[in-house]
């Protein structure tokens, strides 16, 4: 592995957790998320971005890969369908209370379903914000304006809160 590839790998590893979490939430499926994260990694190794844009570059590439994957018929069955292996894996943890596992799975499923009901740009904007990106960076990833990103985030948050029956309508004290 050349020096530049070692640097690229270290950079990727530094952002891996955040990227994978984002992809799991975006796709609803760990296997798909892993495939896409790995493909982003390979592209990152092949053509590392210049400057300090690595994180935004990785998320943008991964977001585009998810979009492309969602277009393919084979992926569509998996993406956002809630049938992924992610929450099924929870069964394998013997240290957790079964009732707690079921409750957690149900909540996770509800959140994933609510996420899936959002428009793609709303979902991407909300999830990238969750990973700490600024509106300007999200706008670059989505190919839109900063003002649009704020609207997407606000709309997505209100939709999710409503679907998940989260109490967010009360007036300030």
């Amino acid at each position: 592995m050349s020096v530049s590839e070692v640097d690229a790998a270290a950079t990727f590893v530094a952002h891996r957790d955040s990227l994978c979490r984002y992809l799991v939430r975006l796709t609803g499926d760990e296997d798909t998320a892993a495939d896409i994260a790995q493909e982003a990694f390979v592209r990152f190794l092949e053509r590392p971005p210049r400057g300090d844009r690595a994180r935004a570059w990785l998320f943008t590439v991964a977001t585009n890969l998810v979009r492309d994957a969602a277009r393919s018929q084979t992926r569509r069955r998996v993406l956002l369908g809630g049938e992924g292996a992610a929450w099924q894996r929870a069964h394998g943890d013997p240290s957790r209370d079964p009732a707690e596992i079921v409750e957690g799975m149900e909540r996770r499923h509800a959140v994933q379903t609510a996420l899936a009901s959002l428009a793609r740009k709303e979902r991407v904007a909300l999830l990238m914000r969750e990973e700490g990106f600024k509106q300007r960076e999200i706008a670059e990833a989505l190919g839109t304006t900063t003002a649009s990103v704020g609207t997407l985030i606000a709309r997505a948050a209100h939709k999710l809160a409503k679907q998940l029956n989260l109490d967010h309508e009360s007036e300030p004290q």
């Binding site: 979490r21 939430r25 760990e30 959140v111 948050a157 007036e171």
Partner: protein, 246 residues
């Protein structure tokens, strides 16, 4: 003193205010408006609560503990690189031919293209896919992937420890994995895992080997034993000085 604007704040301005995402002057303008406008104050409150509630619920969706990136065969990386190089080389050949009007012998051009192809290192690699986090964050175990070259893997553990175990089990993947604490230096190559631990350590290690590996040679403080890899379940070896002495 900042003058509050008259128009209501837009969604992206509210989000910017909540996330502290913008320059100081602009955010101060939004804040000043909020102080005077009950409509925007209410809207900001609703949005802040929605974002907080959604954020809390999103935390239920995270990668599972056994999440791992799939292994990329080195051949795939090499193939992709060669494809790119071929395209580059073809372009160089074409430009050279045009520039020199084919006065240079063709075999020399072919040789130049081949030299370009062979110029980059294309040796197989082992991918590191996990690293400890720093800056006060909890340190997660490191996981490394490896691809055994034969049917045996050697695990060489330098010394007996205060406490700890070595767990050996079959991998669900076509590659092997080792999980180990960040505090322990580990060298992983094809078919050999070298763990450079210290006697003071209380560390455990999990080694998963693919199905083609039948036997693991566990060398513990210089003493070697062969361990048959179970098809299900796991073999657990005690690495503590007290346990190993029994």
């Amino acid at each position: 003193m900042m003058t509050a604007r008259n128009a209501h704040l837009l969604d992206h301005e509210l989000v910017a205010l909540i996330d502290d995402d913008g320059d100081r002057a602009t955010l101060a303008e939004y804040t000043a408006h909020l102080a005077e406008c009950s409509t925007c104050r209410g809207e900001a409150h609703r949005l802040r609560r929605a974002l907080a509630a959604v954020s809390k619920d999103l935390s239920t969706i995270d990668v599972s503990s056994d999440f791992a990136l799939p292994f990329v065969p080195s051949t795939q990386l090499v193939r992709r690189r060669i494809s790119r190089q071929l395209a580059t080389a073809a372009g160089i050949v074409a430009v050279t031919i045009l520039s020199f009007r084919a006065t240079e012998p063709l075999h020399a051009l072919a040789q130049r293209a081949w030299q370009l192809l062979a110029s980059e290192d294309t040796t197989p690699r082992i991918e590191a896919v996990e690293t400890p986090t720093t800056q006060g964050q909890p340190v997660r175990p490191i996981m490394l992937q490896f691809v055994p070259q034969g049917s045996t893997v050697l695990i060489d553990i330098a010394v007996l420890q205060t406490t700890g175990t070595l767990t050996i089990r079959q991998s669900r993947h076509e590659f092997g994995r080792i999980h180990f604490p960040a505090a322990v230096e580990t060298l992983v190559s094809e078919s050999t895992i070298e763990i450079r631990n210290t006697p003071e350590q209380s560390a455990s290690y999990v080694v998963e080997v693919p199905a083609n590996v039948r036997t693991v040679r566990a060398r513990l403080a210089g003493r070697e034993q062969a361990v048959a890899v179970p098809q299900s379940g796991a073999i657990v070896l005690d690495l503590s000085a007290r346990g190993a002495a029994r």
